[in-house]
Amino acid sequence: MNLNRNSLRARVTAFYVSMLAVALAVFCFAVYGGVRAYLTNSMQRTLIHTAETIIADYVVPLDTKGQAWFENEMSESYPQGISDPFVRVTQNGKVLYESGDIREPFVPVTGLPVPSNSTELNRFRRVTTGTGQPLMIYAKSYAASRGAPILVEAGADMEPLFHLLHSLVVILLVVMPVILLGAAVGGHLLMAGPLRPVVTLTEQAEHIGRKELGERLSVIRSGDELERLSLALNRMIDRLEEALAHNQRFSADASHELRTPLTIIHGELEALLEIPGLDTQTVEGISSALDESDRMSRIVHNLMTISRLDSGGERIEMRPIELTSVLKTTLDHMSLLAYEKAILVTCDASVPVWVTGDAMRLKQVIVNLVDNAIKYTSEGGRIEVTLQAQEDQAVLSVADTGIGIPIESLPFVFDRFYRADKARSRESGGTGLGLAIVKAICTAHNGVVSVESSENKGSTFKVQLPLLHLSGREAALLESAPTPAADSAAEERIIEVPIKP
């Protein structure tokens, strides 16, 4: 499966990895904070304990046992140079004993400032030595019976503690991304299992949507939401198929019911016209009835076409079509209609434009749009037809300098039987379905048709169809196997001569 960023699988994985990341981050902070607090506390406890032990064991009996005994005892318990924590006992600024420097790392105790006021007593203070070592020192004073209070300090180098914490941070920073990456990969792989039925279901549904409604999705017998989904989709396809079949049956029935009487009317009228010696008025009447029956036949025919296109009942033949040549041939075939009204038709379509579709139907779109433009443009007007490839769209536009469409009518011009200008269009003998057919054909080709218009200035109809991208070789290959439209164009070019007025 590809790594589509919008796929459900990717999104679920991303969600779960980010949740995990948040949880891991919280965990890391907790671990760091906990370890740091624990180490600091235990150091502080040691310092307090050391200071209190010194006071109780050596400072209190100092008066009675003397300075020599004190120094002796102290150097035994807190040997010079190697005592950790280091200690210092001072009275009135005079050092009674100091354990001095610790071996490694070297801590120069001598020369550390002595707490000067009482606020620094019974508290921990942080001191940085001249060599940059961070120290933590606890000072406790003992009120001696003679002389000034004796100050006992116990201290430790904090560097090992910081070093430990630093290592912890490094470990956490390395381990967390590794865990997250592992979780992402694992999660993505794990999601494949539960999502596979969804992928299958989607592929099947797409296939059915494109091809045959007669097929059904294979139901996933898992008893979970997916089984319900596949069953629901199948029920929906059932309904769709039923509706479609109903529509087609109705179209066929309606078509038959309308066409048979129309055949009879037409036949009877034709037979009547054959009777010799009819007076002019009768001939006129019958002829006009025949015209109307013709129009009604066309309406029935067009309605059925739209209904079939809309319901998908008419399968559109989808093959590569070169629209530029179809357009030029079609305009050529219609040239006399424009010439009759002295309308100038210009065609701006120079490069081949390929689309996928039914040549006959696409031609019908052109015919209907151009015929419409001619109908609603007065004598001496202009019609501009352009066909261009814009990004991935083939854009056909038919612009006229005709009467235009009132703005309130614009949303409805593609509706069946909608007439913007009732009087005028009836006299022109249309069926009121031309634009509806255009829309149905465009929709069936996955395209759209739109209109812009300003009254008395003209209208522009624009058709957009998905462009077919062909390599030069493919296009050449297709051109050498001519489409019906291209074929007839070639055939007709042979004897085309300019029309003389």
Partner: protein
Amino acid sequence: MRILVIEDEPRVSALVKRGLTAERYAVDICADGIEGLEYFEAFPYDLIILDLMLPRLPGAEVLQRIRRKNDHVPILILTAKDSVDDKVKLFELGADDYLTKPFAFAELLVRVKALLRRGPVNRSSTLRIGDLELDRLTQQVKRGGKRVELTAKEYSLLEYLMQNPDRVLSRNMIIEHVWDQSFDGITNIVDVYVRHLRTKVDEGQPFKMIRTVRGTGYMIRRSMEA
């Protein structure tokens, strides 16, 4: 020439019979598929006109059964459906031609005649009616020996009219032959082209060959009386 019409709509079959009889064909009518098959087996027909929607046995089935027994008899289908799929299916089943309802009788007649003369079809290189001459090889048209310049569509239109002299061709038939189905509903295009063709072919001539048949279509006449 004997023609069998299998059509359940009595008024349609009556129309067809009346018209064809007037053209001196012998016509039998059957109102359902089974009866139609019985008639087909009992008599040798030159042509069968078959409606698709029939009681008792559907037209498509009748078509298949006839084809199983007889390859030659031309069969013209009448149908109320006109989707492309249906048409293709009909030809696959062995139909020779189809006509979508509603149709003009003139149209039916042209197709009947075309089917009956199949084989020696008139594909001669020159069509000649009176003093009007159309050369299919050079695609040149002459009236009274004088060259007439035509556009491609005018030429196709004239050729179609000249292939069916003295026969009324409806606008729909002309559209289908000379243009194609995408011009459905633009029947005024026929009127415009016929008018132009007429200017070129008939103007200044004492005998106007292209005649308008009101309500139906156009025809080309051999002589005044036709």
